[in-house]
């Protein structure tokens, strides 16, 4: 996790046993489990540059606009929800061939840092240092 003064950024990586093209297409197919569009109660998806999406699940609506779309290589879209406090955050996906697999990297950036968290910055810093030691934080595949 990268934490600047005003925004947060999370980066994730997964090695997917399929070609970059299959993984790219799979990410945009609402029928495939794990992509954001799967299990939507209501979905409008127009995956092209300047196309919009509307995704509603469990009473929460998410909106965004695709800003980059390069098949089998890169995809970027904005992401707005109550959890971003109404501000535009950015989701960037890259697809890199690794032998027969694809390295999928997802970066969710420009997430607003919560005022409550900022006001307790020192407490967080301590807590985040303490927590992995005491409770066995599992960073899994997060990089």
């Amino acid at each position: 996790m990268k934490n600047s003064a005003k925004t947060l950024e999370f980066k994730f990586e997964r090695t997917i046993p399929a070609s970059p093209g299959e993984v790219f297409d799979g990410w945009l197919n609402p029928k495939i489990p794990g992509n954001p569009w799967n299990m939507a109660e209501k979905l409008l998806l127009n995956p092209k540059v300047d196309g919009f999406f509307y995704w509603h699940i469990k009473g929460i609506s998410h909106y965004g606009r695709f800003t980059e779309m390069e098949r089998a290589a890169r995809m970027q879209h904005t992401w707005v929800s109550p959890n971003t406090l109404g501000q535009e955050s950015m989701v960037t996906l890259t697809f890199k061939k690794q032998g027969e697999d694809t390295l999928l990297t997802l970066v969710h950036s420009d997430l607003p840092d919560h005022e409550l968290a900022r006001s307790h910055e020192k407490g967080w810093a301590y807590f985040l240092d303490l927590f992995p030691e005491q409770f066995g934080n599992n960073p899994r595949k997060k990089k």
């Binding site: 994730f12 399929a18 959890n83 968290a117 020192k122 301590y126």
Partner: protein, 113 residues
């Protein structure tokens, strides 16, 4: 799950260096009040106030054992706070795990055929 007021209580509790030091001490195991207070150059009354704040946040509990009262750390509120802080971290990890699993299952099926 922590509601916002409880979350605020936990954040306030861990925002003070003395209370963080108490949490650090108790993370090594339950301790008696005087043992908790010993490292601090403050009045016992002040330590009592810190403990009350930690207790209100659900971060510690007191247990009577014979004549002694032992104070121990409760980790659950800290775990919940971590979950709240990393909402998107959890969200994407769950999603990506499912996505990866879908392709692994697909590949297994293809190999069997």
């Amino acid at each position: 799950m922590l509601v916002m007021d409880q979350l605020t209580d936990v954040l306030i509790a861990i925002s003070h260096p003395t209370r963080r030091a108490i949490i650090g001490h108790l993370s090594q195991g339950p301790a008696r009040f005087l043992d908790v207070a010993k490292p601090f150059d403050t009045a016992l009354n002040a330590v009592t106030k810190h403990l009350k704040l930690l207790e209100r946040a659900g971060l510690i509990e007191r247990r009577k054992q014979g004549r002694e009262v032992y104070i121990s750390l409760r980790g659950e509120p800290l775990r919940e706070v971590a979950g709240w802080l990393h909402e998107y971290e959890r969200f994407w990890n769950e999603r990506l795990d499912q996505f990866e699993q879908y392709f692994r299952d697909k590949k297994k099926k293809e190999k069997k055929q």
